[in-house]
Symmetry: C2
Subunit: 366 residues, 2 copies
């Protein structure tokens, strides 16, 4: 019997354990539990652990009242959508975008309007065209840095244009930014939150990619009234988020482990992204992609008529997991797929792409 090849997953947007600072987390827990047992172990309030909230507020140059710290940023999204999105409210989304956001918005009955994502970010003229047609967006959900699934980054010019557009047309930008710290090439761009003069932006981020996913700590920054409304929803849902986890993250951020951890992660991601790009160019030359400047993901488009669903199956037979492009779009994406390089080492990447190329060769010619 031939032995099964070891599984290689390009599917999950998660870090491998070797780039998580396990020792730093042990030390942070120990220090946090000793320094503030009352704050760590008692019920908190729904806005989160106050010292961490203050750290986040300072980082973004806002008041603590503009911040709520939640059990991961997906929970933050859920509260935000509960507060803002009523059935038939128009929500602009990127095409493609994160599948769970689509699911969450759809379950609220939102009227989703996908607008094409370009290598420099969402097509602003596409949003303008919708508005010119009389559509009145309530919210625009945008992932500005190293977008999931495409890996693309929104340009400074477009960030400015979007803030102006939101102001002129009275909609809110939901700047969903979990990957911002993971830039390994080029210059960090200002957030739309920092570019907006008024209350046009609500911003979300997370410590899943910079500390670890299992810690489930995310946050929202936004207008004080909206944050207060979400805090009320959060109280009614869970009284308070995880104080133990937030206290550990607070210590980790303040004692310097956070900055060190980000460096470790970026070095590894850069290496992995480069290895993936090189392997694809060498072994799957028909694959088109934009080399990401940060983050976890690379989006591959194959020639028209290519069947990514068949590739998904042929790859699975070879022990390789990918995510089909169609998962990230309401329609289309049949010739595309997403590769996550965050959870796989360089050797696995090379081996995985070799198997993927073999899988592609096995497909009937379209």
């Amino acid at each position: 019997m031939a032995s099964e090849p070891a599984p290689i997953s390009f599917a999950r947007g998660a870090p491998s354990l070797d780039i998580i600072d396990v020792e730093g987390l042990r030390a942070a827990a120990d220090a946090a539990f000793a320094a503030d047992p009352a704050g760590t172990f008692s019920y908190g309030t729904s806005i989160g652990y106050r010292p961490l909230r203050a750290w986040i507020a300072e980082k973004h140059g806002v008041a603590p009242e503009n911040v709520i710290v939640t059990n991961g940023s997906m929970q933050a999204d859920a509260f935000l959508f509960e507060a803002l999105v009523e059935p038939d409210d128009v929500v602009v989304v990127e095409r493609p975008t994160y599948d769970r956001t689509l699911l969450s918005l759809r379950s609220r009955g939102g009227d989703l309007r996908p607008v094409a994502l370009q290598p420099d970010g969402v097509d602003v003229t596409g949003i303008e065209a919708l508005i010119a047609d009389g559509v009145k967006p309530r919210l625009a959900h945008l992932i500005p840095n190293f977008q999931n699934p495409a890996g693309y980054t929104l340009s400074l010019e477009k960030r400015k244009a979007l803030v102006e557009l939101a102001k002129a047309n009275g909609f809110l930008i939901f700047e969903d930014d979990p990957y911002v710290e993971l830039r390994f090439t080029g210059e960090t761009l200002p957030t739309m939150l920092s570019l907006a003069s008024d209350d046009q932006v609500v911003y979300a981020s997370s410590f899943s990619k910079t500390v670890c996913p299992g810690i489930r700590v995310g946050y929202l920054v936004g207008p004080e009234k909206l944050i207060a409304r979400i805090a009320k929803l959060a109280t009614n849902t869970y009284i308070s988020p995880n104080m133990v986890a937030q206290s550990i993250v607070n210590e980790f951020c303040r004692n310097g482990s956070y900055a060190r951890s980000i460096e470790t992660v970026k070095v590894a991601l850069k290496e992995r992204a480069e290895a993936l790009g090189e392997a694809l160019a060498a072994q799957l030359p028909e694959a088109r992609f934009v080399a990401p400047e940060g983050g976890y993901f690379l989006w591959v488009e194959m020639p028209d008529g290519f069947d990514a669903d068949a590739l998904f199956k042929a790859a699975a037979e070879r022990g390789v997991a990918i995510v089909k492009g169609t998962d990230f779009l309401i329609e289309g994406g049949e010739n595309a797929f997403r590769l996550a390089y965050s959870g796989v080492g360089v050797e696995q990447i090379r081996e995985g792409v070799a198997r993927l190329a073999d899988a592609a060769k096995s497909l009937p010619v379209g």
Copy 2:
């Protein structure tokens, strides 16, 4: 200027820090992080940290597939109500009951039917009378041990009768049991979950009262299909609950700290409950109450016409916080209030009751 009296809170159902095993939690975190960094720090799945899920399943004599571990038991309640309660579904609740449960069920549009709580638990004939009137309950929410707010405990006879009634009439019992481990007098009674032969019971509990509230770990035990449905809701809400917190709880439970912590808590609660009962008998003799056999709460009924709202204000002026009875009822409770003795030491209890008696004397005669 007279100095303000130190505040004394009988309001919050939370443990004081001196009965939380801070050192045990530090040791558990350290051991858990070293033993299973991958399981602790990575994304998990929505059913929770598997070793803890297995420990809970064994404790209740069920399969792991019957268990989901959540971010606190209020979050579990929210998922359960989302899965089960549609607008106008009839839900039997105890009168009085936990205010947040009322709020949560109301926000789902549930048709709440309060049934009187007696010192030996909910009035089963009251539920029978509803059914005889043609009402078809979907769910009955019951807090069997040391009920919040009343401190009463459901008798074995009534537990058996309720399981039979649920079976005969096709409704589900939601056995909400966060205080079960905190019995300091008398014998532990079997859960309705263990008495039911079929799928009539979904059971919730929590580690907030036995480990600490800030850890936010709770769980549901129920029919496999229902648990699977809730796991899907949980995935869409937050991908996975807090793995770090659940891994710490798992270690704490398995290394013996849990059993020791419960002993510490019970000794303190017994002392506090007795001190409260004695102080009330001595200083507020018109107060009627049933001495609790466990848990956090004591429910005080004053003579008819007594104005607990006025007492609430007069007590606050004296630095004493209580919760008004009306908070736990859809109507009624004007002459009642809840005292939580979990967060206050014996000396504070004596001083707090003295101030409360002084506040009561200050009220105009009704």
